[in-house]
């Protein structure tokens, strides 16, 4: 039982820049990273010079040594990148940082993600070149090149296998937009969504309407992790890490859509380990942040995290079940990647910490356990569970 991070590490600081539409950030990406880290340190009441580690994911371009130099860090001890998986690395980076703190490799690690797509180009656009070789040669010439196009066939197959209707996807989008209306930071604040607007929105790729797809944004987010022994020395209520880990099933990375378990969010092998480490059951989770690249990924992630039987999706996925404070499982309570900001999912982890602190703009009553699922349908994926001191 000693081989766990459960209860050994806590998040004591969170920080974000303002969130901008893609390409509209007034700052360079590296400066956005610095601003988020400074905000997280201020929230924790610590000097940035005392940070001694950095962890990120999805090949973030802000290099830890460069950050440490820019911040005047005294003693860099940990510089970590979670490989692969894009947004699937969000909780994985937290897991890596927590492991470093729990084992004494570092004392105060910042997990961060910064994105300025105006500066560096977009995710949701196809490659514009003359020829293509390798795995892409077997997909791109058929017009299969964007993330939406890469995941739609997984969702279609899952919906076919389990009789899931479009309205189940719609409910996920409605819940996110509902939450964003109470969140002044949200890019979609003041832009509500109803059933009719969803139904009339254009298809991106079936089964995804426009409102099933994440935003593309500029901004940065960061959180500060320290050991549980020190967690009481900071101004805010600590969010203890009960579990954080990553992984993927057998040959999840098989190329040209050849993974055997195709219609999956990739969480099936991760989830039993996640709950085991946290010593919680799905029914103990008070609030969920579930990465939305696309609503279909949320649906499959929630099934694979055992919140809903695959055959019951049409009954479970209705807006009233998913909204704070009264829903059965309030989900994406900041508006998430669909309606708050697409910060590659680190924003979802920050929202989970807010729920533990009692500071969300869509606060759920009496939160003790908050779960984050990062990056469905990619490989590896990752999840994290945060708890209050009462859960230790």
């Amino acid at each position: 039982m000693s081989r766990t991070v459960r209860g050994k590490v806590a998040v004591v600081g969170i920080g974000e820049t303002e969130y901008y539409k893609r390409g509209e950030a007034p700052d360079a990406e590296f400066k956005l990273a610095l601003k988020a880290i400074l905000a997280a340190c201020e929230d924790a009441g610590i000097s940035p010079k005392r940070v001694d580690g950095f962890a990120s994911f999805s090949n973030d371009r802000s290099d830890p040594s460069h950050l440490a130099a820019a911040l005047g860090v005294d003693d860099l001890r940990f510089a970590n990148m979670q490989w692969g998986g894009g947004g699937g690395g969000g909780s994985g980076a937290i897991a890596n940082a927590a492991a470093a703190v729990a084992t004494g490799m570092a004392e105060c690690v910042v997990v961060f993600r910064a994105l300025a797509q105006g500066q560096f180009g977009r995710f949701g656009q196809g490659p514009q070149r003359d020829v293509i070789a390798g795995d892409g040669a077997h997909t791109v010439p058929f017009g299969l090149m964007s993330p939406a196009q890469s995941f739609a066939m997984k969702v279609t197959r899952f919906m076919h296998d389990h009789g899931v209707e479009q309205n189940a996807l719609r409910a996920i989008s409605l819940a996110s937009y509902h939450h964003a209306q109470n969140n002044p930071r949200a890019v979609m604040h003041g832009r509500p969504l109803d059933e009719e607007k969803y139904d009339n929105s254009r298809w991106i790729v079936e089964p995804f309407h426009l409102f099933d797809c994440c935003l593309e944004n500029d901004g940065a987010a960061a959180m500060v992790l320290v050991s549980a022994e020190r967690a009481g020395d900071f101004p805010h209520r600590p969010a203890y890490i009960l579990s954080a880990l990553s992984g993927s099933h057998y040959r999840a990375g098989a190329s040209v859509h050849n993974t055997p378990d195709y219609a999956s969010s990739t969480f099936k092998t991760v989830v039993p380990r996640l709950y085991d480490m946290a010593q919680v059951k799905p029914a103990d989770v008070n609030v969920l942040q579930c990465y939305e690249n696309f609503t279909g990924g949320v649906l499959m992630s929630m099934v694979e995290h055992q919140f809903c039987d695959p055959e019951d999706c049409n009954e479970f996925f209705v807006k009233d079940n998913l909204i704070a404070p009264s829903g059965k499982l309030p989900t994406n309570t900041s508006g998430g990647n669909l309606a708050e900001c697409y910060m590659h999912g680190l924003g979802l982890n920050i929202e989970a910490v807010r729920q533990i602190r009692g500071q969300s703009t869509n606060q759920v009553d009496d939160v003790d356990v908050a779960l984050v699922a990062s990056g469905p349908m990619v490989t590896p994926v990752s999840s994290s569970i945060f708890g209050t001191e009462a859960t230790l």
Binding site: A133, H138, M145
Partner: protein, 144 residues
């Protein structure tokens, strides 16, 4: 005859040679896939060793170009300038039951607004682009 408007990136064999036999065969209206000479199972995309038995004896073998629709999608929003005026198009993921259930990606020939059934039988259609530079052939699919 080309299913999609011209201008997408053209496929070329990988510089390391891993999938060259596939492209060469397609230009002759033949479907060749990778098969392990030790355990006789197919795998796709091609790998340097067999993922089942780790044999390096992996070669290419001609297979019957037939399969079933495993999944599909109808794309409406173009993400490449070449497809700006394309309108909707259908991508299918085809499973080949005679070849260890490996899957290939292609387009489904015909009306882009046709209904598609998961499990429907399909056969390959070799779409040649002989005048392209470099020339290439796409393995497309049509309902049987």
């Amino acid at each position: 005859m080309s299913y999609l408007n011209p201008g997408l990136p053209k496929p070329v064999p990988a510089p390391d040679g891993l999938d060259s036999p596939f492209w060469e065969a397609a230009s002759r209206d033949v479907l060749m896939l990778q098969r392990c000479g030790t355990c006789n199972e197919f795998q796709w995309g091609p790998e340097w060793i067999c993922h089942r038995c780790h044999s390096e004896d992996v070669g290419f073998e001609e297979v019957r170009p037939v399969g079933n629709v495993y999944s599909y999608e109808r794309v409406w929003h173009p993400v490449h300038p070449a497809l700006k005026d394309q309108g909707p198009y259908i991508i299918v993921l085809v499973e080949l039951p005679e070849c260890s259930n490996v899957r290939l990606v292609g387009n489904l020939m015909g009306d882009p607004e046709q209904s598609v059934e998961i499990g429907a039988p399909v056969q390959a259609f070799f779409e040649h682009h002989r005048d392209a530079e470099p020339p290439f052939t796409l393995v497309q699919w049509e309902k049987v």
